[in-house]
């Protein structure tokens, strides 16, 4: 009985706080994406020779995010049937966008306006094991360049 109550409490805490935090996070992501729109990203290695470029210092951005209890529960149910795990999709989307924004912010500090050779790395910290923290690390890096077109 107590287990059931605990589960329901955790689920509702996860649902309300998780939804609130996610909305807040998306709002801040959208706002910062607008602010940093001027920095262009490339995953090519070679800087086009027609650009007047200088610099090339490495910039990094990374974040570790955790899933909330409710979403994890829903994903657990979903796993019985297979298909899209929407709750995890939004977690990874948030993590990647946040990491890119942090990298862009670093580039802006050094006055760069382009980042080349961007690489993403994603590491699962829990690897889906039971009773561990469902969280994911996203790491992104590239070389910041100041260039005029």
């Amino acid at each position: 009985m107590y287990d059931l109550i605990l589960l329901l409490v955790l689920l509702s805490l996860g649902y309300f706080f998780g939804t609130y935090l996610e909305k807040k996070h998306y709002k801040s992501i959208l706002k910062r994406e607008k602010e940093l729109k001027s920095i262009l990203l490339f995953d090519t290695k070679l800087i086009p020779p027609e650009l007047q470029a200088s610099g090339g210092q490495m910039v990094v951005g990374h974040v570790v995010v955790s899933i909330d209890y409710f979403k994890r529960f829903v994903a657990g149910l979903r796993k019985l049937l297979g298909g899209r795990l929407k709750t995890y999709e939004s977690l990874l989307d948030r993590a990647r966008r946040e990491a890119v924004l942090r990298m862009k912010a670093h580039a802006q500090e050094s006055d760069a306006n382009m980042i080349f050779n961007i690489k993403f790395e994603t590491a699962s910290i829990s690897k889906g094991a039971r009773d561990t923290i469902g969280s994911v690390e996203v790491y992104v890096y590239g070389s910041a360049v100041k260039a005029t077109q």
């Binding site: 998780g18 996070h25 800087i47 050779n117 690489k119």
Partner: protein
């Protein structure tokens, strides 16, 4: 020391190649922070303690790589890559490698 993950830098010329340099570190997570993080796991959101931990570890790996590059007399490391592997439950190895070179303004 200029660190970059490009192979060719604008306005710079490689005058000497010094070969591969690398740095790595193995880190375990802090038990106390782990408990705090497990609370966070109910609500979701960023695990700041882990973010910091991973950043510290990557900085350490990079520093070791830079130290190696400095000892060979390089002034830049090009084409840097990162790799992560989990060694044991709750521990991770962070690895950084690149090519040490001497650069000159063109």
């Amino acid at each position: 020391m200029l660190l970059s993950n490009l192979e060719i830098l604008p306005n710079k010329r490689v005058v000497k190649h010094l070969g591969l340099v690398q740095g790595s570190t193995v880190r375990a997570k802090h038990a106390g922070k782990d408990i705090l993080a497990s609370f966070k796991n109910v609500f979701g959101g960023e695990l700041k303690a882990y973010t910091e931990l991973m950043q510290e570890a990557r900085d350490e790996a990079l520093q070791r790589m830079v130290a190696q590059a400095e000892s060979t007399g390089a002034n830049a490391v090009l084409n840097i890559r990162f790799a992560t592997s989990s060694v044991a439950q709750g521990a991770a190895e962070l690895f950084a490698y690149g090519t040490a070179v001497v650069l000159e303004e063109r």
